[in-house]
Amino acid sequence: MAIVTTPDAILVKNYVSGDEASLSLLIERHQSKIYGFIYSKISDRDVSDDIFQDTFIKVIKTLKSNSYNEEGKFLPWVMRIAHNLVVDHYRRNKKMPMFRETEEFSIFSIMTDNSQTIENQLITEQVENDLKRLIEELPDDQKQVLVMRMYQDLSFKEIADLTGVSINTALGRMRYALMNLRKVIDKNNIILTN
């Protein structure tokens, strides 16, 4: 026995004339395609249900107000409405498609946090304090140049002017300061890392 399916155009016409059962047939016929389309864009069952519902509310209103021009393209028309509502949904939420955390995919694998962890902050603090203590052990003239250069960010010209020595002397003191620091660090097996 041949299964005779009423074309969409006839069902739409019947529905507009008041036959509610035609709408039921239309929804039943196309629900899978429309819902599948929405779900493929949204990936959330509840939101997809909402958009599916809004899509058909628009369809019903348009058909009931006789504003639909039947051109034998019922499904593409409904799909277009659904597509527009999906776009509206993203526009409203101003976000990209949502990713759900799964075993294979973790959102943290693509997100990075550049700020230091508490552990690293503590290490940095410790290293800085150790270095300050080491600098305190340097002879005064070397310490003065090193502090001015590294902590106060002065140029060797400025350091020379402020300490009343030549630039070469300031450079020499800096060189000895660094050499002495390295010596102390090596001698005491101090590890300054982060």
Partner: protein, 47 residues
């Protein structure tokens, strides 16, 4: 005939909206009346 070692592709379950959604739409459709007066369209929902 050579054996197929690949797994049979499981058909994806049909994606369907909830029954409540469909029933809401059908009831909404039954309740909705659109009345055109001149250029204006009025919507009435019968409870």
């Amino acid at each position: 005939m050579g054996k197929l070692y690949t797994k049979k592709q499981l058909a994806a379950p049909k994606m369907l909206p909830k029954k409540e959604t469909i029933s809401f739409l059908l009831n909404y459709s039954k309740a909705l009346r659109m009345i055109k007066v001149g250029n204006m369209t009025f919507e009435t929902i019968a409870n």
